[in-house]
Subunit: 297 residues, 2 copies
């Protein structure tokens, strides 16, 4: 028989990763309604917003307001790509901060204008400082399988970078198949290795459904012992390098599959649909997750 966990944790990334990739600016009020409804649906960990330059990412220009009204859940995470963002997050009293780096040099340079090693070296003392302040630190490891510029990323490069971040003191690694190219075999292989080598860090898998493999990859990761998944309500988000492609795996499709397999997610699907209903009318794209579509018939 298959060995699967009894219970998993969902880290909802819709308000940050999802809306950051939306064409239109979503009104702050709508975002807050969305976040509150997600909380009512049972979401306990959430990426709320990102402290990035409003010049480059106008979608996140209301980060301070979002943080000020943050819901009362187990873990509100804010993304901060650099020193400046981290300082803003700290000033506003954030307790959980996500940093990010791409395993692929080319991708990292395109994103934050630094090599992967430069990012790592810059982040090491910052992570140490955050840990001294008892801040929960999540490291988002992007292009962990494939890079839109360099193609296949070697598993050993990803493992090495993950080990560096764990050595630097992070609490969680969110390991991402940024362009939705990983296969279930690759998911099983990488996550099995990570589980074995890094038993003392929270390991989270982050999949995109660009090629419809996201649920298969999650099923493979479960078999590798992973019990934390980044998902996005309505499947919001995506990769700017694959425009129009499906984005993050939809929270509702993941919750449906896992609950149906007897794995507890703590999330109420009806209330999750209500949360998506609040945001759906202002989006530039149609929600195309299986569960949401069927719920409207």
């Amino acid at each position: 028989m298959l060995s699967l966990p009894k219970k998993i944790s969902i880290i909802e990334v819709g308000p940050r990763d999802g809306l950051q990739n939306e064409k239109n600016f979503v009104p702050t009020e709508t975002k807050l309604m969305f976040i509150n409804k997600l909380t009512s649906a049972g979401i306990k960990e959430m990426e709320l917003t990102s402290f990035v330059s409003p010049k480059w990412v106008p979608q996140m220009k209301d980060a301070s307001e979002i943080v000020a009204s943050h819901p009362n859940i187990f873990r509100n995470i804010v993304l901060a790509p650099n020193r400046k963002g981290i300082d803003r997050a700290l000033e506003l009293g954030c307790h959980s901060i996500a940093v990010f780096v791409g395993v692929s040099n080319s991708f990292n340079k395109k994103n934050i204008n630094k090599s992967t090693m430069e990012s790592l070296e810059e982040l090491k003392p910052i992570i140490a400082e955050l840990k001294k302040k008892d801040i929960f630190v999540r490291a988002c490891i992007s292009t962990a399988f494939y890079c839109p510029f360099d193609g296949k990323i070697s598993e050993s490069d990803t493992l090495h970078l993950c080990e560096e971040f764990v050595a630097a003191g992070v609490d969680e690694l969110s390991v991402a198949d940024t362009i939705g190219m990983a296969t279930p075999s690759e998911s099983f292989s990488l996550f099995s290795s990570l589980k074995e080598r890094l038993p003392n860090v929270l390991l989270t898998a982050h999949f995109h459904d660009t090629r419809k493999m996201a649920l298969a990859n999650i099923f493979a990761a479960l078999q590798a012992g992973i019990d934390r998944f980044d998902t996005s309500a309505g499947g919001l988000g995506g990769c700017p390098f694959a425009p129009g492609a499906n984005g993050n795996v939809a929270t509702e499709d993941v919750v449906y599959m896992l609950e149906r397999m007897g794995i507890d997610t703590g999330i109420n699907l009806d209330k999750l649909v209500e949360a998506i209903d609040t945001i759906s009318p202002v989006l530039s794209r149609k929600i195309n997750s299986g569960y949401y579509q069927l719920s409207k018939k």
Copy 2:
């Protein structure tokens, strides 16, 4: 490590299962172009058409013409729901005939106005007769996991019906998750049991992508030792009881995932896209498979 097969067989069901569910009648000439292009892409087994009443299923009214121009591939399959259809298929010299039955009584009655047991008893002597004529017999076992009317189908009911058909002499069982509700756990469980109990029949898994679980279910079935999959180019088809929902799992998404995992399918993806291009303009729906969409960017 995961144990996966090195090579699998695709049974293309687009021309029959796919087009039968299309709103518009697809011109015979277009169907034949589609079938020929699928053959060029490497398809070796295909459900070509169905000998059903043109009154009920006008989409298949050109069954005789389709059969007359059948491609030179390993196995051309025609579906025949009853004595009359089977006689027509035999007259036209068909070598492979598919019969079908639902595990669910309610579903079977709705489809062919007979109980499951009535269908089985009627088919037994027909299968014996076909085997005497050296005809390849495929049994399509629908609602093997869930029924749109009765809900969950017990695994033992499905196993029992499959055993009856094998005892009756069929060469292949195509075991279907007709409404796309099976989970990977259920896929693994049923196909493991079938493999164990019925080692001397061709076992084929047939999944629908209604809830985005089709590739996960295929990945689970692979782990159960299944190496034959029904798929539909462009994801054509679907279930009349879930209108607008995604249909059969798309051949191109399955081939992409399997080839990427090093499993030989014998199918050329570029040529498969060309085949879909021939049919796409006349369809009432948009092709929404991951691979096809990405191929157009």
